[in-house]
C-alpha cells in the first residue's frame, strides 16, 4: 500500500508556511459553482468542472474557489454553473461547453465582464465571500 505523501504537496507545504492564503478559507475573489446533479452529470457537468479546474491551474490562481452543488431545477439547460465575483450578484450560465468555459473564465472571472450570451440570469445563491 503506498503511503500518502505527495511530492508536489511538499513544495506547497513550504509555501503554505509563508502565507495564510492556502490554508484560510473565505479569501476568494471569485467562486465557481458547477451544478452536478444527475441531470448535470448526464449532460457533461464533470467535463465542465474539469475545464474550470484547467483554467485555474493554467493561470496558477489561488483566489478562485471551485465547488459543486446539486440540481438547480432547470435540468434541460444543463450543464450549468454559477459564477460569483466577490461583492457582485451571482450569474448563472447555461448550456455550457468547454469552449464557453474558456471564454467565461477569461471575460468574467479574469476581466469582470459578464458573458450575457451564455447567461441565464443574475441573482440568487449569494454567498458572503468577504
Amino acid at each position: 500500500m503506498p503511503k500518502l505523501t505527495i511530492e508536489e504537496l511538499e513544495k506547497l507545504r513550504e509555501e503554505a508556511r509563508k502565507t495564510t492564503f492556502i490554508r484560510e478559507q473565505g479569501q476568494f475573489r471569485a467562486k465557481i459553482n458547477v451544478h452536478m446533479g444527475t441531470c448535470g452529470l448526464a449532460a457533461g457537468a464533470r467535463h465542465i468542472l474539469n475545464a474550470f479546474l484547467q483554467e485555474i491551474e493554467k493561470r496558477g490562481l489561488t483566489d478562485v474557489l471551485l465547488t459543486t452543488s446539486g440540481c438547480a431545477g432547470l435540468c434541460s439547460r444543463e450543464p450549468m454553473a454559477t459564477i460569483e465575483i466577490a461583492g457582485q450578484a451571482p450569474v448563472k450560465y447555461i448550456d455550457l461547453t468547454e469552449k464557453k468555459v474558456e471564454e467565461i473564465f477569461e471575460k468574467h472571472i479574469q476581466g469582470g465582464e459578464i458573458v450575457t450570451a451564455y447567461a441565464l440570469g443574475i441573482g440568487s445563491e449569494k454567498t458572503d465571500l468577504s
Binding site: 506547497l12 444527475t38 479546474l53 438547480a72
Partner: protein
C-alpha cells in the same frame, strides 16, 4: 451516464444529501469470480425499508426541486445491462450502503472512466467530508483517504486547486500502477 466513475459521483452525492460525514467508495475487480463490485457506504441518515424499496423507482424522490430521482435507477440499469445486481442496505440513523455488481467479462459493462476526476470533484464540492476510496484489482490494492491527507498536510486546504491537482495525479499514478502490475502478473 457514460461510465461508472460518473455513476459513482452521482450516487456519492446522495450520501452528501443524507448528511454523511464520511463516505467510503470501494471498487473490487476480481478476475477469478468474473465480478466487479462497487460499494458506496456512508454514515448519513439512512432510509426505512419502504424508502429503500422506493429508491429504485425513478418516479420517487424525497427532494423538492423536482418529482423524480434518477441516480439509483440509472445505476440499476447499468448493473442489469452487465449481468449484475443492485442492492441497498440501510436503516434510519444507520447510514446507507449501496452495493452494485457487474460481470467483468460482460460486453455491456461500462468502462470505469475517470476515477481520479470523480474523487477530486467530490472533494472540491464537499471538502469537509472524509472521502475514502479503495480499489482492488485481483491481488493489487490502492487506498486513498482524504482524512489522512488532512492529517498529513494540515497547512493546506484540501480543496485548494494545487491540492486537487496533486491528489488527482496521485490517484492516477497509483491506479495505473495496479493496472500495470495486474497485466504483468
Amino acid at each position: 451516464m457514460e461510465d461508472l466513475s460518473l455513476h459513482i459521483l452521482d450516487i456519492a452525492e446522495n450520501s452528501v444529501e443524507a448528511g454523511a460525514t464520511w463516505v467510503k467508495i470501494s471498487l473490487i475487480e476480481d478476475r477469478k469470480t468474473d465480478l466487479l463490485q462497487l460499494e458506496i457506504e456512508d454514515n448519513g441518515r439512512g432510509m426505512s425499508a419502504e424508502e429503500c424499496r422506493q429508491a429504485l423507482n425513478p418516479f420517487y424522490t424525497t427532494r423538492k426541486t423536482r418529482r423524480f430521482g434518477l441516480g439509483l435507477p440509472f445505476l440499476l440499469e447499468a448493473c442489469q445491462a452487465a449481468g449484475g445486481q443492485l442492492s441497498l442496505e440501510s436503516s434510519p440513523g444507520q447510514g446507507t450502503k449501496v452495493i452494485a455488481t457487474f460481470r467483468l467479462s460482460h460486453i455491456d459493462l461500462k468502462p470505469l472512466g475517470d476515477i481520479p476526476l470523480t474523487i477530486i470533484a467530490l472533494i472540491a464540492g464537499h471538502p469537509e467530508i472524509d472521502w475514502q476510496y479503495y480499489h482492488r484489482r485481483n491481488d493489487w490494492e490502492f487506498k486513498f483517504d482524504s482524512k489522512e491527507f488532512k492529517e498529513n498536510y494540515p497547512e493546506i486546504a484540501i480543496n485548494h486547486p494545487m491540492a486537487l491537482k496533486a491528489i488527482r495525479n496521485f490517484i492516477n499514478k497509483n491506479l495505473s500502477l495496479i493496472r500495470r502490475e495486474h497485466d504483468r502478473g
